[in-house]
Amino acid sequence: MNSGVWRASIYVLAVGIAVICGFPLLWMALTSIKPDREILSAVPSLWTQGPHLDAYRRLFSDTNFGIYFWNSIKVAGASTLLTIIVASLAAYGITRFRFRGREFVAGTMLFTYMFAPIMIIVPFYILMRALGLINSHTGLILSYTTFSLPFAMWLLRSFFQSIPLDLEEAAMIDGASRPQAVLYVVMPLALPGVIAVSIFTFIVAWNDYLFVRVLIGTDRLKTLTVGIQDMFESSVTDWGMVMAAGVMITIPALIFFLAVQRYLIAGWGTGGVKG
């Protein structure tokens, strides 16, 4: 194939993808700064006559958006941290020690994801109520961690498997205790996997709707997903404000994502393929 045509078509496709993926977000941002009348005009305009940030002001002063935002960050962050710790411990334990049922882990992951949350939500609710974890962030954090664990363990296990034992032993011969060897030698090498796990868990927690909807009743404890939906459906709607909310939700995810995306691909490449 002619390499000129080849190069050209690559660029065309690349632009196409960028537009299809990026345009909706651009439109969302644009709508959030348009004056109210322009938003509902019959002919959508690609720019605005009077951009203003009033929608954002309304968002933070008239609604509990700020609270929802903070709740989401708190819950997603804690879930991610907890998942990494628990999954790393488990994956390390499985790969470093002779262990009956090692293969069980891979099977468990698949098995667990066959029980989608919607299926077990009612007994889950009853269980959480018995544990006194209804209407609490602790309940949410435990839920997200639990649902991320199978995938996290599967991924980290592949990573740990690929890191030779010699490294830890060398460190321990040099005088390090085992925990130190793990923390300073093994974990840095497993970093891509850890990052991949943290992205996955963060997104699971950040985007979750069903658990918050069922487990949380108080407005002050809601996260963004449920908070936004309720704002959207409440008696006072405001397209500009809703779009502003969308922009605000997107920005931290965007920042987080841009910061770690290189690690993401690297992480998958090493860990995901074996087995």
Partner: protein
């Protein structure tokens, strides 16, 4: 530390412990009673007003603390169900109209006769009494907080342009003719804009069946979907959808219909007085020119003689087994005192139609700024309340309030599917109704409520 040196901290600790134990015994006498109040008005103005009322009440009643929880309307159901299931009930809550009967039948509600007496029973509009007064054991078990009525909202300028007289259609046939004149599909203009979410379709089924002289359940609670008035309603709906509704109306939500009216994409919608705020924000010119109007009647179907519309009122209810029902009752009495109730009404004046005749004539009420522009809207609602027997949401006949399965039928999508089948699914009204009938009978039987 040496022996000597920790004696002093120890003494301090013991002293503190003794003090706190003593305090624990003494404080119950001064302990604050905390009354939890749930309501479904999460908009900032109303929340602030309720906070004011609470502050005044607490000043007048030291020892009682009131905490409000503002829920979205959809959250209320969920939270109420969770509370019912776990037994952690609020003291005072606004609830669903159809729940009031079933909860009182289970003996869970504290009668509110004393609250009603403090307001003056004769001062309350009849429609509220019909909702909240239990004629069997002669008790009030709930009290509506306000009674906004659902009306047809329309664009006067559109009617003028189409040469249609500024008067409501009396029958469905007339209405369709009006709407046809107002529809121009090539321009994306539709005569009517209906809300698509299941809840609103349910409401329209109840109202329109009633406006056609029909009913949905018989005396034994058996569904009657295949009766003529319901079939006629489905046929009418299909005609309406084909001629005068947007092709994607099923996906439009309630507020989108207001947007449609404001931008001129539609000429008529069905809605409540809360929408005035929306028009003022998005279409101030229309409001200024007085081009937004409401009709104080709705059309009736071929088999109907009088129209049925609904009023929106989440009645206040007090749970007998909550922590502080008596204090909750005291708060409720305070809430309905003239100066406080007026404040509450002022937060959403065109929608919060007061439950008392005296408030309706109160000069301070009549002087509310919003009424300069929207007086006609209040007058229309008043007319309907006095003369046209509006029903609470989710029922057609008053007797339906006593049916124990209204919530489940509403949540089941049976009625929504019936409409979708007939209007878009290519089924005849009879086929759609038969399928819905069968599903409803099955559901009622499965729930254990079959009495026929």
């Amino acid at each position: 530390m040496t022996m000597k040196h920790w004696k002093r901290p120890l003494k301090t600790a013991v002293g503190a412990l003794a003090l706190s134990v003593a305090a624990a015994f003494v404080t119950p006498a001064f302990a604050q009673k905390v009354v939890s109040v749930w309501h479904t008005e999460p908009n900032p103005k109303t929340k602030a007003v309720i906070e004011e009322i609470i502050a005044d009440f607490q000043k007048a009643n030291p020892g009682i603390k009131v905490e409000q929880e503002a829920l979205g309307w959809g959250d209320l159901d969920k939270k109420m169900q969770a509370a019912l299931a776990s037994g952690a009930l609020p003291d005072l809550a606004q609830g669903q109209t159809y729940n009031e009967r079933s909860l009182s039948a289970k003996g869970m509600l504290r009668p509110l006769n004393d609250v009603v007496a403090s307001i003056g029973e004769n001062d309350i509009f009849d429609v509220v009494k019909k909702l909240d007064y239990n004629t069997k054991d002669k008790n009030y078990y709930g009290l509506a907080h306000a009674v906004g009525v659902d009306l047809i909202i329309y664009r006067k300028d559109h009617l003028r342009q189409a040469g249609i007289p500024d008067a409501p259609a009396k029958t469905w046939k007339e209405w369709i003719e009006q709407l046809k004149k107002l529809t121009d599909k090539s321009k994306g203009k539709y005569g009517l804009s209906l809300a698509g979410p299941g809840f609103f379709i349910n409401e329209d089924v109840y109202m329109w069946a009633g406006s056609n002289g029909g009913r949905l359940f018989d005396e034994k609670g058996r569904p009657t979907f295949t009766e003529k008035p319901v079939l006629e309603m489905l046929a009418f709906w299909k005609e309406l959808s084909d001629c005068c509704l947007a092709p994607d109306w099923l996906s439009r939500d309630y507020l989108a219909t207001f947007a449609d009216l404001a931008t001129g994409k539609t000429s008529m919608i069905l809605g409540y007085g809360r929408g005035t705020g929306y028009f003022e924000q998005y279409a101030p010119d229309l409001v200024a020119k007085g081009d937004i109007g409401v009709f104080s009647s709705k059309p009736v179907g071929p088999s109907g003689k009088s129209f049925v519309t609904q009023f929106d009122s989440e009645p206040w209810m007090i749970f007998k087994n909550a922590k502080h029902p008596e204090e909750a009752a005291a708060f409720l009495k305070f809430f309905y005192k003239k100066e406080n109730y007026l404040k509450y009404i002022k937060s959403v004046p065109v929608h919060f139609f007061p439950i008392t005749k005296s408030m309706r004539q109160n000069p301070e009420y009549l002087a509310i700024a919003d009424f300069k522009q929207w007086k006609f809207w209040i007058d229309a609602q008043h007319q309907v309340i006095e003369k046209n027997d509006p029903r609470p949401v989710m029922i057609t006949q008053w007797a339906d309030l006593d049916l124990p399965f209204i919530a489940e039928i509403a949540g089941s999508t049976i009625l929504v599917d019936m409409v979708t089948d007939a209007v878009k699914g290519g089924k005849t009204p009879l086929e759609a109704a038969q399928r819905a009938q069968q599903r409803a009978e099955q559901l009622i039987t499965q729930l254990g409520y079959k009495r026929w």
